[in-house]
Amino acid sequence: MTNLSNIQRRQLLKAVGAFFVAHGAGLTPALGSEKIPANLEATLAAFVDILLPKDASSPAASTLGVHSQILGLAPPGSQFEKLLDYGCRWLNMTGGPPFAELPPIQQYQIVKFMTTAPWNEVPRRFYEIIRATSVSVYYGDPAAWNGLSLTQPPQPMGYPPPWA
């Protein structure tokens, strides 16, 4: 079970709830269709790896289980599960291979498009909420800290001076 605190979980649910309040009932019919699969786990894993890819210092997000922890925040029937479902279906609406099987450069372009999509539409909200949640989960893992001037939690050692 994911380790987000109660407060962060509430903030996530509030953000998700705000989207559904704003969006109302006007979602694209295709997003509700069973014909476009969500393939939640594979799609989300590929998505978070575009947000936080492997580099020379630290692993990709899926390696740290970021996608699994996000899925753990979405119990069946919840609004967050619905948003994940809509978002992953939208990602798979390529007319070709599903998102997870696209070349990385195409995946990148799709995500880039999402960053400037209208605020009250699925692509933009999905991007914003999953980005915020992903970085919180990712950087909550010390394996992601390589290259930062942070090697341990603040306690029990603290940071006594000097601070140069």
Binding site: Q11, L51, L52, D55, E128, D141, S149, Q155, P156
Partner: protein
């Protein structure tokens, strides 16, 4: 109901174990009284509840436990206009915080803790005395109301509170004159504070070490601070002077104090002679009733008026719930190349009081203060940078998190709020809690002076960051569009006139001579941004002395050298 009141067991009952209730309990125990302290929230265990030693510590703000958050609703919080769009909150990582023209409630809105220690458990721990002129706002400036006591009358209680809490500060003389030195030397300035001090000097602003309820050396069986930078997440080592490890710890050591947690008080009952005869509360789901020969109410500026309004007492003036004053807040954050380790050191360790006096800002009544706030606003770990200070995704995101970590510099500012007719606490007409008590409803709108003051705070903060070499700006947080109040005041104001105030200069209710209020609801004015906890402690101890008729004499100002 139907439970017989327990007669004669306690000399005094206190409601609320926060800054005011804890200090009152300690003083009353010192006077030899048997005290019952009823607290709606739980105890917190620093070892188990505060997560600063965990690998995922940054995902854990101050913990929420059952009953540690009060319930309330919100009324009219005001609207936003195009004219002041420059005052809206935003960050590079998330974009604008608000998307409409109605002021939003950020998070819980009223940021507080119910529990043994109250909101001092999650406070930063600034330990400020009020500017003496801020206590005479009506006489001098025609706004708010005057305090019915002077700085000199409160000064001995400030000194006593500082000794009990263990406040570290600079003894440099200023308008807040002192009868005794701080018990502890000031803390060393952290990397971001040093940068702001240097920038301030170039702009003619004087930055100095802030007075802090955090130990700069071991004191009173508590260890010195180790500068982890995360006071607001709860202090696991006990150097932060929250009320649980200071006043309450000492009161419990007397064996005269009984604390009952998770006990919400639901009604105060007045007798025919005007005295409050008893209080009812819920303990383990069962309604109890306790005699109240003396009663101290210290539930804070939202829950205290709620209980009084729901009980129908102490309000012949009509002022209970009125005059609500929120926290007027601004912060600007930028990234400074060459600044490193800005996550280290004591939060809010440096302060500029230059604009704190009520007449310090041209054309604006009511002052403000500026603080080194990098750690206080949460730039202590990579999640903050990745979500707020860095935009985009992919390799660039990771690269920029690495590049920016430790370089954030934040100027925070808090300013005076003048009471107005649109800001008050009343009872929600429809929403009730599980006990059947109506919820408090907060209405809060910023007045003209507050908007002007916010513009000044924003302009000054940006100028400081520019001087410090910050580029780019990455975040600005403003209570113009985001209502988030940690300091709340005014809803049971003190005064000499029973027609226009709820309590007298000792905190005694005009309507009930055995009822005292010992929290920030009694403040007639908010001050120019001073953190209220030390003033709450001082007023609470003074109220306890009044209960037994032993108020300390005013201090004399030392002759100037």
């Amino acid at each position: 109901m139907g439970v017989t009141p327990k007669a004669g067991q306690y000399d005094c009952v206190i409601i609320g174990a926060g800054a005011g209730g804890g200090a009152t309990a300690w003083r009353l125990c010192q006077h030899g009284l048997r005290v019952l302290l009823l607290e709606a929230g739980p105890r917190f265990d620093p070892d188990a509840d505060y997560k600063l030693a965990e690998p995922d510590w940054e995902r854990h703000p101050f913990p929420v436990k059952p009953n540690s958050q009060g319930q309330f609703t919100f009324g009219n919080m005001g609207t936003l206009t195009e004219q002041h769009k420059d005052l809206r909150s935003w960050s590079l990582g998330t974009g604008p915080y608000s998307h409409g023209n109605v002021r939003e409630v950020a998070g819980t809105g009223y940021s507080h803790v119910q529990g043994v220690g109250g909101s001092t458990l999650h406070f930063t721990g600034e330990a400020h005395r009020l500017h003496p002129d801020a206590m005479q706002m009506h006489s001098h400036f025609g706004v708010a109301a005057d305090w019915p006591l002077t700085y000199a009358q409160l000064e001995p209680y400030y000194a006593l509170s500082e000794q009990q809490v263990g406040v570290a500060g600079s003894n440099k003389a200023d308008v807040r004159w002192r009868s005794v030195d701080y018990p502890l030397p000031a803390h060393p300035l952290s990397p971001p504070a040093q940068r702001l001090q240097a920038a301030g000097e170039k702009l003619g602003m004087y930055w100095q070490a802030n007075a802090r309820a955090a130990l700069s050396e071991p004191y009173d069986d508590r260890p010195a601070c180790n500068y982890c930078g995360n006071c607001n997440r709860g202090c696991p080592i006990g150097d932060k002077g929250s009320t649980d490890v200071t006043f309450i710890r000492k009161a419990e050591a007397t064996d005269l104090l009984t604390i009952k947690t998770n006990c919400q008080v639901t009604k105060l009952i007045a007798g025919k002679n005007g005295k409050i005869t008893s209080a009812t509360y819920i303990e383990n789901g069962v309604r109890q009733q306790i005699e109240t020969p003396r009663l101290i109410l210290a539930a804070g500026a939202v829950q205290t008026p709620r209980l009084l309004l729901a009980s129908g007492i102490a309000n012949s003036s009509g002022q209970v719930g009125r005059n609500f004053m929120e926290t007027l807040y601004w912060s600007s954050t930028g990234l400074v190349e060459g600044l490193t380790n800005s996550h280290m050191g004591l939060p809010a360790d440096a302060i500029c009081w230059d604009h704190n006096a009520p007449d310090a800002i041209d054309g604006i009544i009511g002052g403000c203060r500026f603080t080194s706030s990098t750690q206080e606003v949460g730039y202590t770990g990579p999640i903050a940078y990745a979500t707020r200070a860095v935009e985009g995704f992919g390799l660039n995101l990771k690269r920029n998190v690495r590049k920016s970590f430790g370089h954030a510099l934040t100027v925070g500012a808090i300013g005076e709020v003048l009471p107005n007719e649109h800001s008050f606490v009343d009872l929600d007409p429809t929403r009730k809690d599980a006990t059947g008590l109506p919820l408090a409803r907060i209405h809060a709108q910023l007045g003209e002076m507050e908007i002007k003051r916010l513009h000044f705070m924003a302009k000054t903060a940006r100028a400081l960051l520019e001087q410090a070499g910050a580029d780019p700006l990455v975040e600005e947080i403003s209570t113009y569009d985001q209502f988030q109040a940690t300091h709340v005041f005014g809803t049971c104001r003190m005064g000499n006139n029973a027609k226009t105030s709820v309590v007298d200069a000792s905190g005694r209710a005009h309507d009930h001579d055995n009822l005292f209020i010992a929290d920030a609801s009694v403040f007639p004015s908010s001050g120019g941004g001073e953190a209220p906890s030390l003033t709450i402690h001082a007023l609470a101890i003074r109220a306890a002395d009044a209960v037994v008729g032993a108020t300390l004499l005013p201090a004399s100002e030392k002759p100037k050298a």
